[in-house]
C-alpha cells in the first residue's frame, strides 16, 4: 500500500493550472441553448410586429381593438377583433370551468387516495390522453358530444361554443391532473402529519393544508392548461364552427383567434392583401394576451405561494 501522499510533505500546488477549456466550452454551449428561448421570443415578436405594421397602416387600431364586428373577408369588411377575443374567452373559460375542478379532483385522488399501483396505471393513461391529437377530439365533439347536447338542449346549434368548451376541457384535464398531482406530492409529508396530529380528517387535511401548500404548482398546471386551451385550434374549429360572434350565449357558433389564424393561413385568401395581414394582427394580439396572462399569473403565484421549506 502506498503511504506516500498522506505522509510526505512533497510540495504540491493548489493553484490554477491553466484554464479548464473543456469546462468553459461546455458552459458556453449550455448558455447558448438557454438563449435559444430568448431568441425565439424575439423572433416571434419582431416577425409579428413587422407584419402587423402593414395591417395597421390600412386599418385603424381603434377599429381593430374596439370594433364589434369581425368580417375581414366580407364585403363590406369590418375589422373589430372583439368577437374573436370573445370566442376565445368563451372556450377558455368554459374549458377551465370544466377542467379545473375535475382535474384537481383527479390530482387529489392520485396523490392522496390512490394506492401506488393504481397511480402507476392511471397516470400513464392520463398522460396518453394528453397526447391524443386535437383533431381526434374535434371529431369526438362533433359525433358524440354535440348529439348528446342536442338531446338535452333542443335549441342548441350544431356548432356551438359549449361543445367546443367541453372537449377542450376534456383535452386539458389530463395536463392539470398529472402536473397538479406532481405538485401535491411534493408537499412534505410532515405537513400532512402535523394536520392529522391535531385530529383532522383526510378531507380537511387535503383541502385546507395540502392543496393550499401545493398551490403554486397547482396554479402552474392550470396556467399551462389554460394556455393550451387558448391556443387550441382544430378541436374548436370542428366543434364550434367559424362564425365570429359577440353574443352572450354558449349555444351558438363562435370563432376563436387561433381558429381564424388557421382559416386564413390555410385558406384561399391571397397573401399580401389586407385580409392576409389580419392573420398577423390577430397573432400579435394573441401573443400579447398570453403574455399578459402569464405575467399576471406569475405575479399572483408570487403572492399566494405558501413556501414550505
Amino acid at each position: 500500500m502506498s503511504s506516500s501522499s498522506g505522509q510526505s510533505s512533497v510540495s504540491f500546488s493548489i493553484r490554477k493550472g491553466g484554464l479548464r477549456w473543456g469546462e468553459t466550452a461546455i458552459k458556453t454551449w449550455l448558455r447558448i441553448c438557454t438563449l435559444v428561448s430568448l431568441f425565439t421570443t424575439v423572433a416571434i415578436v419582431v416577425l409579428l410586429l413587422a407584419e402587423s405594421l402593414g395591417f395597421f397602416r390600412e386599418v385603424s387600431p381603434l377599429e381593430f381593438f374596439f370594433g364589434t364586428r369581425w368580417v375581414p373577408l366580407l364585403n363590406p369588411s369590418s375589422f373589430g377583433v372583439l368577437p374573436l377575443v370573445w370566442g376565445t374567452t368563451l372556450i377558455t373559460v368554459g374549458a377551465a370551468v370544466i377542467a379545473i375542478p375535475l382535474g384537481l379532483a383527479s390530482a387529489i385522488y392520485l396523490s392522496e387516495y390512490a394506492s401506488d399501483r393504481v397511480r402507476a396505471w392511471v397516470k400513464p393513461v392520463l398522460e396518453l390522453l394528453a397526447g391524443i391529437p386535437t383533431v381526434v377530439y374535434g371529431y369526438f365533439a362533433l359525433t358524440f358530444v354535440t348529439p348528446v347536447l342536442r338531446t338535452l338542449i333542443p335549441d342548441i346549434q350544431v356548432f356551438n361554443a359549449l361543445s367546443g368548451a367541453i372537449v377542450v376541457g376534456i383535452m386539458i384535464l389530463p395536463t392539470i391532473a398529472t402536473l397538479s398531482d406532481n405538485a401535491l406530492r411534493a408537499v412534505p409529508v410532515s405537513l400532512r402529519q402535523a394536520a392529522y396530529a391535531v385530529g383532522a380528517t383526510s378531507y380537511e387535511v387535503t383541502t385546507r393544508i395540502v392543496v393550499p401548500a401545493g398551490l403554486s404548482g397547482v396554479m402552474a398546471s392550470f396556467l399551462l392548461a389554460i394556455s393550451r386551451a387558448i391556443g387550441e385550434t382544430m378541436a374548436v374549429t370542428l366543434a364550434s364552427g367559424q362564425t365570429p360572434n359577440l353574443e352572450f350565449t354558449m349555444l351558438e357558433s363562435i370563432q376563436t383567434m387561433t381558429a381564424y389564424i388557421v382559416q386564413i393561413s390555410l385558406g384561399d385568401a391571397p397573401s399580401g392583401g389586407v385580409a392576409y395581414q389580419t392573420l398577423f394582427a390577430v397573432a400579435t394580439m394573441l401573443f400579447f394576451i398570453t403574455l399578459l396572462i402569464n405575467i399576471i399569473s406569475q405575479w399572483i403565484l408570487g403572492r399566494f405561494r405558501e413556501v414550505y421549506d
Binding site: 364585403n75 346549434q157 356548432f159 382559416q263 385558406g267 384561399d268 391571397p270
Partner: protein
C-alpha cells in the same frame, strides 16, 4: 441497362426514363383531383416524385409566385396582389381549367316546403344586411320557421365564387351564417337542423344524399338541379364553377413537369369523376393541351 424487368412495362417504357420532382400545392378543393392524377402518374413514372400540398389557394400562390412550387391548384382565378408577387420574382405562368365543381344548395330532408329557389331569392337570403330570418320571409306561403345558413369559410374560393355569382360582388354576404372549412361538417350542420339551408361542393352532396334534400336553382331558365350532366353542359348555371391549375413557365421547361401536365389533361376526364367532380367538355381539355404546348 437490363431490359428483362422492364419488358412488361410496354407503352410506358419511354416515360420510365423521366426523373425529378414535381411540386404542387394550393387549394384543398382541387387537391383530390391533383392527388388522383399524381397517384396514377407515379405508377407510370417510378422515377418522378410528385408531391401535393394543400395550404390553400392563397398560401399556394404565395409559394408558387416565389418560385417554390411548379404547379398551383386554385379554386379561383389568380388575384392582382398575387400577380404582383410573381412579377416581382419574374415568375410567368399559365392558367389551365381542369374540372367543374357544382355548388349544391341543400336543406334538411324534413323541409317539405321548398322545391326550388331562384337566384334572386338566394341573393335576398345571403346578401349583406339581409333581413331574412325565417322561411316565410323568403316566400310568404312558406312556414314561419327560423332559417339558419351554412356555408364554407369566408376566405374560401367556394365562398368567393358563390357571393360573386349570387350576390353580385365577391365576398358580399351576411356575416351571421355558420361557416366551416370542412364541407363534411356543413353536411352535418344542415342534416341536423330542420331550418337549415347550406351550400357546398357537389361531391359532398352526392355522398350524403340520404341525409339532405337537394334544391334545384332557377337561374332564369327554370329550376335545374345539379347533376353530372347539367354541370358539364353548363345548364346548371350560374352555380357551377371551374377549378384551375397554374403552371410556372420556368418549371414547364423541365420534361417531368411537361409530362405531368400533359398526363393531367389527358387523364382528367376519367379521374375527375372518380373524386366527385365534373369533367369539362372534352374539347376544352384539348384546347388546354395545345395552349400548354405553345407555352413551353
Amino acid at each position: 441497362s437490363d431490359d428483362n424487368s422492364t419488358a412488361a412495362a410496354g407503352d410506358s417504357s419511354d416515360a420510365t426514363a423521366l426523373t425529378g420532382t414535381v411540386r404542387l400545392d394550393g387549394s384543398s378543393t382541387v387537391f383530390p383531383i391533383s392527388e388522383a392524377i399524381a397517384e396514377e402518374f407515379q405508377i407510370l413514372n417510378q422515377g418522378v416524385r410528385v408531391t401535393v400540398g394543400s395550404s390553400g389557394t392563397g398560401g399556394g400562390f404565395s409559394k408558387f409566385m416565389a418560385g417554390e412550387t411548379d404547379i398551383n391548384n386554385a379554386s379561383r382565378a389568380v388575384k392582382t396582389e398575387e400577380i404582383a408577387l410573381g412579377t416581382a420574382k419574374g415568375v410567368e405562368y399559365l392558367e389551365l381549367s381542369v374540372a367543374f365543381d357544382g355548388l349544391s344548395i341543400v336543406v334538411n330532408p324534413a323541409n317539405t316546403w321548398v322545391d326550388a329557389l331562384t337566384v334572386a331569392e338566394l341573393k335576398s337570403i345571403w346578401e349583406p344586411g339581409s333581413t331574412v330570418d325565417s322561411w316565410n320571409d323568403v316566400r310568404p306561403e312558406w312556414p314561419d320557421k327560423p332559417l339558419h345558413l351554412y356555408g364554407p369559410g369566408t376566405d374560401s374560393g367556394t365562398f368567393d365564387y358563390f357571393t360573386e355569382v349570387v350576390v353580385g360582388s365577391t365576398g358580399a354576404a351576411r356575416p351571421d351564417y355558420t361557416a366551416s372549412e370542412n364541407d363534411n361538417i356543413l353536411v352535418q350542420g344542415v342534416a341536423g337542423d330542420e331550418g337549415g339551408l347550406g351550400f357546398f361542393g357537389f361531391a359532398y352532396y352526392e355522398h350524403s344524399a340520404s341525409q339532405l334534400k337537394l334544391i334545384p336553382v332557377d337561374g332564369g331558365n327554370g329550376p335545374v338541379a345539379p347533376t353530372a350532366e347539367t354541370i358539364n353542359n353548363g345548364s346548371y348555371s350560374p352555380l357551377s364553377r371551374p377549378l384551375f391549375i397554374y403552371v410556372s413557365k420556368a418549371s414547364a421547361a423541365r420534361p417531368e413537369v411537361r409530362a405531368f401536365v400533359d398526363f393531367y389533361l389527358d387523364s382528367a376526364p376519367a379521374l375527375v369523376t372518380d373524386v366527385g367532380y365534373i369533367p369539362l367538355p372534352a374539347d376544352q381539355y384539348a384546347a388546354g393541351k395545345s395552349t400548354f404546348a405553345a407555352f413551353h
